[in-house]
């Protein structure tokens, strides 16, 4: 009995093994062969972004000083490296020029903000009331950009292939990430913390002493806390998500996106306000020579004008 049961078990075990061996081999070969045949894998997050950030330093510098276009500016800047075909180039350049043209009222408003700040830096005292009035005009102008550019965005969607639309959305999101890094000084203003994007750049350009940096951080901390304009990244991200999903789709109508006006106004308003807060915090701490140098730099930014040719 025992012998019969043992013999029966072995018989079925060996039969199962006989059947499983080829199956195991097939699985092994499929696992190896499948990976080799598709030739693809999942990429990991980059270990360091320093070299990439340095290569994009000019874009970060732009994002630090120019906020008037909101998301529409990110879109226009993304067209530069989208990789459109020579046949598409003329049409896309025309749309890009149209986008910049529609942003012009907001650009002019931002220019007034920067010129007012430059005047104050040079004089050693910034006229806060005058700056606030200019900031309010900028917020109003930027809020109107989405509606003003809707037709150009629709034309852009038509002009691009599906994969180009996806790449554009990726680039717009990348610009938003860069913008946030370039304008991150308010995140930690304790004296011992490393300076953020803007303050780090100022420290290098103006050769700020550690004592000056500590005083600026202290002033900035108070100014940010007291400012009536607060950062609201969720508002911008909500629009980016809505725009990204809509723009990747086969059918697109920018006029149906209800989040654009508020997002552009928030980005422009917060971005320009934090520039004002930064310079209001920096100015009392600088030497006359440093003020002269900074005022010249701010005037240069004020005169900056984007266009499809540079």
């Amino acid at each position: 009995m025992i012998k019969r049961q043992g013999s029966f078990g072995w018989k079925w075990a060996s039969r199962a093994a006989f059947a499983l061996t080829p199956a195991l081999s097939v699985v092994s070969i499929a696992a190896c062969g499948g990976a080799a045949a598709s030739g693809t894998g999942e990429a990991k997050a980059p270990l360091s972004t320093q070299a990439d950030d340095e290569a994009a330093a000019d874009v970060s510098e732009h994002h630090r000083h120019h906020h008037h276009g909101g998301i529409a500016m990110f879109i226009a800047m993304s067209l530069d490296t989208l990789g459109v075909t020579p046949e598409q180039r003329a049409g896309v350049d025309k749309i890009e020029a149209d986008l910049f043209s529609r942003m012009e009222p907001a650009r002019a408003a931002e220019q007034t903000v920067l010129e007012t700040l430059a005047d104050g830096i040079a004089a050693g005292a910034i006229d806060a009331a005058k700056v606030n009035a200019a900031l309010a005009q900028l917020a109003t102008a930027s809020a109107g950009i989405h509606d003003a550019t809707a037709e150009a965005l629709n034309q852009l969607h038509t002009a691009l292939t599906p994969e180009q639309r996806g790449a554009l959305v990726d680039k717009v999101e990348a610009h938003w990430a860069l913008w946030q890094r370039a304008n991150a000084d308010e995140a930690d203003t304790t004296p011992s913390a490393p300076a953020g994007g803007h303050l780090r750049a100022l420290a290098k350009d103006l050769e700020l002493t550690p004592d000056q940096i500590a005083k600026i951080k202290s002033n900035l901390g108070t100014a940010v806390k007291d400012s009536p304009v607060k950062p609201d990244p969720q508002k911008i991200e909500a629009h980016l998500q809505a725009f990204g999903a809509a723009f990747r789709a086969e059918a697109f109508d920018a006029k149906t996106l209800s989040t654009g006006g508020a997002a552009n106004a928030q980005l422009a308003s917060w971005g320009a306000t934090r520039i004002a807060l930064m310079f209001e915090s920096v100015t009392p701490v600088l030497t006359p020579d440093q003020r002269t140098k900074l005022a010249a730099q701010v005037r240069e930014h004020a005169e900056h004008k984007e266009s499809p040719t540079g």
Binding site: G41, T49, A55
Partner: protein, 111 residues
């Protein structure tokens, strides 16, 4: 028991051992090959300023020695070996490209 039956019987007996040895040898080697080939997806600074090459329905970027791309689900993938179409397009297509410089000069791009 004839010769054929003995062969089948022997095969049945050694089949589990062959299966286990085969799996032990094949699978680790297979996955070691994949693990050794690590790729990283590009940072925001790179995506914002580099020109992609469009291939197989998505934008591909030459980044740190690999062609990487974002699939429809938002995940970053990469090619283990350089596809023929992409070879020679590492600079962003035939003839490369010259991106606009905003504000002040940017550092040279790593290739």
């Amino acid at each position: 028991m004839n010769k054929y039956s003995r062969m089948v019987d022997t095969l049945r007996r050694i089949a589990p051992v062959l299966g286990l040895v085969g799996a032990a040898l094949l699978l680790p080697g297979c996955y070691a090959g994949v693990d050794d080939d690590v790729a990283y997806y590009p940072s925001a600074g790179f995506v914002a300023t580099a020109q992609p090459v469009f291939y197989e329905g998505h934008a591909s970027y030459w980044y740190n020695g690999h062609w990487v791309y974002r699939d429809g689900g938002g995940r970053w993938g990469y090619y283990h070996s350089e596809p023929g179409y992409l070879a020679g397009r590492r600079g962003g297509g035939p003839g490369g490209y010259q991106r606009r410089t905003y504000e002040r000069s940017a550092a040279p791009r790593r290739r």
